[in-house]
């Protein structure tokens, strides 16, 4: 599974993308829990009340969205284009 980070989060994490195994609990919430365990900026930016968005295979997804068949998950700040 490929995890992508954009905008302020990409900069904060110092990472644009990484390959990861599907989390034990194969949902968006399960992935976020695993990433928060890294502590520091990961714990802070991905806090439960954080303002980030998640897309699974390029569609915005809720925290309970399943990841079992996902190939790409993106985590990013609220969008500011236009």
């Amino acid at each position: 599974m490929l995890i992508l980070y954009f905008g302020r989060l990409r900069e904060a994490f110092g990472c644009g993308s990484e390959a990861r195994a599907v989390p034990q609990e194969a949902t968006v919430a399960g992935l976020l829990r695993e990433l928060r365990l890294r502590g520091g900026v990961w714990e802070k930016e991905l806090a439960r009340d954080g303002t980030f968005r998640v897309a699974v295979d390029q569609t915005v997804a809720a925290v309970d969205a399943p990841l079992a068949d996902a190939s790409e998950v993106a985590i990013f700040p609220p969008v500011t284009g236009g």
């Binding site: 303002t51 897309a55 990013f76 284009g81 236009g82």
Partner: protein, 156 residues
């Protein structure tokens, strides 16, 4: 024959006159509304030296297609063209073009406004400004979200 929906995400500038000419040949079109978003030299009280636009390649095009599809389904339109630029831009540069062609003006005006409201809140683009005090990521605005919300009522 015109494609009904045409989307481009690109670093290059767009030529408004050429974009208009592409539609103008079609005599079934009675109304064309064009919106161009530009880089302002001043934002929240400070000077902007340049703007960097980042996007999620693949998803940005996909979302623009989706919102154009929703507009085509909701209003009586003949065509939608969206161009969104990415990369480094300077004050007065063009950022985004939304062009809506219809038989009559009411649908074209309303759809153009809806497309911009939805684009600003759903399409995965992010702006970072270079200011005299350093780089700064722009925050999403609550007013943009409220503006987009009115087009989502009664739709899924």
């Amino acid at each position: 024959m015109l494609e009904r929906i045409s989307i481009s995400v690109q670093t290059a500038d767009f030529d408004l006159a050429a974009e208009y000419a592409r539609l103008a040949a079609d005599a079934s079109i009675g109304a064309i509304v064009q919106f161009v978003g530009r880089v302002r030299e001043r934002c929240d009280g400070h000077m902007v030296r340049s703007l960097h636009l980042e996007h999620y390649p693949g998803m940005s095009e996909k979302v623009l297609h989706e919102i154009a599809g929703r507009a085509m389904a909701r209003w009586d339109l003949l065509g939608i063209r969206i161009v969104h630029r990415v990369g480094r831009l300077e004050p007065a540069d063009q950022i985004v073009l939304v062009q809506v062609a219809a038989t009559h003006r009411a649908a074209a005006f309303e759809a153009a406004e809806a497309l911009m409201d939805l684009l600003k809140t759903e399409a995965p683009f992010w702006k970072q400004e270079a200011t005299p005090d350093g780089a700064r990521w722009l925050d999403a605005r609550e007013t943009d979200e409220r503006a987009a919300q009115r087009w989502r009522k009664g739709t899924t």
